[in-house]
């Protein structure tokens, strides 16, 4: 608790400022309420997704989510992408002398992959911006100074898009647009374009438990906004970021099982 309060003091003005800029606070607490600032400060640090119920495997964790309701054209596009990926994987899977060669790839940068991945994310709270940093390349910068999104007409879509945020009490609310639509599929079976808006609500359930609720809105893609919630666990204070090193030109990157020679 001492550490939390100390963090709150360090980040205090920043977090209070954030509240004044964009947050509504709560009816019971002013934006500079030390208790509220301490709650917000608990969001800082490293987090890892959790499987709280037992899904059996990673894919089943996502399969538990409510499926997205897609417009017909979006359904067709998603199916086409899956088929293309299956063809690529099929074409590149070969076993030669007990060495299994597979499609080599590195983690996709961007919010979608970063937030569903099982590596850690590091949430860094600063005065006018908040960073969400994964262990693979790419990070999300959330502007907390009240600026609007830029015009998408003049914005080049990137993995993390453009994010702005504000506080609603102790909950961080982030809006993102401008993401590269050919990135990772959305959990629950969705896709997105640069025009799609993603709203993330970071809600602490306690000092070591975090819910992030994701809501995707785009009438061209979704019949209705698609929402799901993922849970994250706080990592020990002495943990540190560990790079998910990836070099697609490394021969190991395209290699899976190497069946050992069987001794007679």
């Amino acid at each position: 608790m001492t550490r939390v309060v100390a963090l709150a003091v360090l980040a205090g003005c920043a977090l209070a400022g954030c509240a004044q800029q964009g947050g509504t606070g709560t009816a019971a607490s002013a934006p500079d309420d030390p208790k509220l600032l301490a709650q917000r400060a608990q969001l800082g640090g490293e987090w890892v997704r959790t499987d709280e119920v037992g899904s059996g495997d990673f894919g089943s964790m996502l399969a538990r989510l409510t499926p997205a309701e897609l417009q017909p054209a979006a359904q067709a596009l998603l199916a086409e992408r899956k088929a293309q990926q299956a063809e690529r994987d099929k074409a590149q899977l070969k076993a030669e002398g007990g060495v299994y060669k597979v499609a080599a790839k590195c983690d996709k940068p961007g919010i979608v992959f970063m937030m569903q991945h099982s590596g850690a994310i590091d949430i860094v709270l600063q005065k006018d911006e908040i960073l969400v940093v994964p262990e693979h390349p790419g990070a999300q910068t959330i502007y907390m100074d009240g600026r609007p999104h830029p015009s998408l007409e003049h914005f080049t879509p990137v993995g993390a898009g453009h994010s702005v945020g504000h506080w609603e009490g102790a909950t961080l609310v982030v809006s993102t647009v401008g993401m590269r639509g050919e990135g990772s599929s959305v959990p629950g079976g969705g896709i997105y374009s640069a025009e799609t808006e993603l709203v993330e609500r970071f809600e602490l359930l306690g000092p070591d438990r975090l819910h992030v609720t994701f809501t995707w809105t785009d009438p061209k893609i979704y019949v209705k906004p698609h929402s799901y919630t993922l849970t994250y666990a706080k990592q020990p204070a002495d943990s540190y970021a560990f790079e998910s090193w990836c070099d697609v030109s490394d021969p190991l990157q395209g290699q899976s099982v190497v069946v050992p020679p069987q001794k007679s």
Binding site: T50, S118, V259
Partner: protein
């Protein structure tokens, strides 16, 4: 070996993106789980995926699981978050592994979790067994 692989790969690739791995896991039958008991021959917590070779004695003559297996884990950073270090296993350690076998029948396994000689269970990723309650 090639024929069954070709027939089964397409279906396997539609299984959800397991562990969001660096490479396709189409070679594995992710709907099956098998358990192997053996002795560690080598272990490397490496990228893109950790590997260990284990020797399975088998349960007697004719046991098709007897022999040397390559067990593939997750990326090093993911396994570290689950408690793995470069010293988690060494040659000669007794080990039980639970994982997904290869469609081809080759001695390769996609790891779900390992059990050390002292009973400690070590998951390779954040997923937990069905019915698991923390």
């Amino acid at each position: 070996m090639q024929k069954p692989l070709a027939a089964l790969t397409l279906a396997a690739t539609f299984v959800a993106p397991l562990a969001l791995a660096h490479h396709s896991f189409a070679a594995f039958d992710m709907k099956q789980e098998i358990t192997l008991q053996g002795t560690v021959q080598s272990y490397s917590l490496q990228n893109p995926h950790a590997h260990m070779v284990i020797k399975v004695a088998g349960k007697g003559p004719g046991d098709r699981n007897a022999g040397l297996w390559d067990v593939e884990g997750a990326a090093a950073n993911i396994m570290r978050r689950q408690g793995w270090t470069s010293q988690s296993f060494k040659a000669g350690d007794q080990i039980t592994v639970v994982g997904h076998p290869m469609h081809s029948g080759d001695k390769g396994l996609s790891l779900f979790y390992a059990i050390k000689a002292d009973g400690t269970r070590m998951y390779q990723d954040i997923a937990r067994p069905v019915g698991y309650l923390k």
